[in-house]
Symmetry: C2
Subunit: 318 residues, 2 copies
């Protein structure tokens, strides 16, 4: 077992990839006091990552400012305490500024890998790119480095062999808007060492996440393993003409006390994601099946630009 307090030894965190989640993981980790480097594939990737980080910094600062007057603005990612004085909030705002300034962006494996304690891989969901990254990375990191993938759809066992350190490789899966949605699903593959699993759980806690521990590999982790069949059932009811989507949402909310029904959740998840998940099922290509009707219903909305909350309209208007 890792000695207790190993978390104190984790200093340098590398995030590979500067996309939606990569930039969030990087800023959140820097905000929580880690020395953060973002590794990117090209100078072009660096140019695309910079405005994302800047926008995130503004979201962090604005949300903190809002917390001074509006208790509902509170996000646990900033502090486990939900009653903060204006002075304390100003301190946190300064920490955001410092975190933003402290992040290093590099395309160099050497610079990223040098003395890295934890590398969080958040690059494209493309097995070939991931394999190439792991193989090159393995040449430039010290023995101690733990590697975690944020992949939503792939299993760590598919890549462990390419990392050169299967026992120090596992999945650490974040939700979007990490500062508000603090779940971190942590999943090893059969050869992940328990001490490295535990170290990553501690890291997750240290960046104000709530570790959700999986005991074995599971496609879709915990959340999507439930969310996908639930949303699919709701989509089927609507696409099959059983009820209006508003009625379906109302039924779920009244019966379970949930704040959101399945079609509100679909608008948050994004209809394109729901469509892509649905299309993994071969039946979705047959318009006579219920899966095919669901796919057609989603495609019609996507083609009309109604992809969810981010586009201003999905099932509902925003």
């Amino acid at each position: 077992m890792y000695p207790r307090g190993v978390k104190m030894n984790m200093k340098k965190i590398v995030v590979a990839g500067g996309g939606v989640l990569g930039s969030q993981i990087a800023l959140q980790s820097a905000f929580c006091g880690f020395d953060v480097t973002i590794w990117l594939r090209s100078e072009g990737s660096i140019e695309r990552a910079q405005p994302k980080l800047l926008r995130l910094k503004e979201i962090y600062l604005n949300t903190l400012e809002a917390m001074k007057t509006n208790p509902a603005a509170y996000c646990r990612g900033f502090s486990c305490e939900n009653e903060l004085s204006a002075d304390k909030i100003n301190e946190l705002k300064q920490k955001v500024e410092d975190a933003y300034d402290s992040i290093t962006l590099t395309t160099s494996y050497e610079e990223a890998g040098n003395d890295a304690d934890l590398i969080i891989e958040a690059i494209a969901e493309d097995p070939k790119q991931k394999i190439a990254f792991y193989q090159e990375l393995a040449k430039h990191i010290p023995e101690k480095t733990i590697i975690a993938t944020n992949s939503s759809t792939m299993l760590p066992s598919a890549f462990a062999q390419y990392t050169g350190r299967p026992e120090k490789y596992l999945a650490l899966h974040f939700a979007n808007e990490i500062w508000r949605n603090n779940t971190a699903e942590i999943m090893g593959h059969p050869d992940t060492g328990q001490e490295y699993y535990d170290a990553v759980c501690e890291f997750a806690e240290n960046i104000n996440m709530i570790p959700l521990k999986l005991k074995k590999e599971q496609p879709g982790y915990i959340l999507n393993s439930m969310l996908v069949p639930f949303l699919s059932a709701a989509e089927a009811l609507y696409a099959d003409g059983v009820a209006d989507f508003e009625t379906i949402d109302k039924t779920w909310m009244l019966a379970t006390g949930a704040p959101l029904g399945p079609f509100r959740i679909l608008d948050v998840v994004g209809l394109t994601t729901a469509y892509n998940i649905g299309m993994m099922n071969p039946k979705a290509s047959d318009p006579d099946t219920i899966e095919g009707k669901v796919a057609a219903m989603l495609k019609e909305k996507i083609d009309a630009g109604k992809t969810g909350i981010n586009s201003g309209e999905g099932f509902y208007k925003y």
Copy 2:
């Protein structure tokens, strides 16, 4: 189409069956001003129904009394207004007493059927018993009578032919604890007349329910069509050893903002019901399948008396 205001003409409601839901539907309908008769199969059934009604009356009275001082005690089944004066609550308590006293219990088809506007069938989930009931009932009711089944698991098209009035037959499905859980799923079969469907929707509103309208037949209605795959997915994660049930609940609650995770919901639904639903799948009889592991996991808890919230323990202790 039925003329608007037809609801004013519905006076006499017959509830067939005095079980958990039958007694609730009867008292709620009487409380809302309807003339209610409970039809029961035998004198023994009458003796079993009476203490249920008395216990329900006490729950209604105690809950109303609690509403005087505790806003959280409010139940929409009593009033659509959630801020009631003590005087108004006392009036409602008197209505509960009057409603309880007004209910007629009978084993006579003639007495029940005579001048009935709506008969709500809430007898055992046994097709043979339902068919025998409908066939005998048909001999004793006037042309105007609408018949609704509260069946959770069967489709109205399976019984319509036995009622002698398929166009006036449909499903009206309540949730347990009708005074608090005000959903009424309303589902016709292909030959249900729209005017009778609408009349039953109005009736549901008149007893303070929220009508949830299905446009076509669907096994499991709206709620169970989503709840069953959702709960099954959660059960599978646990039975397969992917995560603790507490972690699974926490994941769902954190990610969706829901007040209850799937294992809390299972404790409310009852593990026996979940087990019976699972056993409808032939795979559940094979211990090597995940369905079989779920069934074994549930059976172990049921055999230990841990059937859910009503027994004081299910997944959680109460």
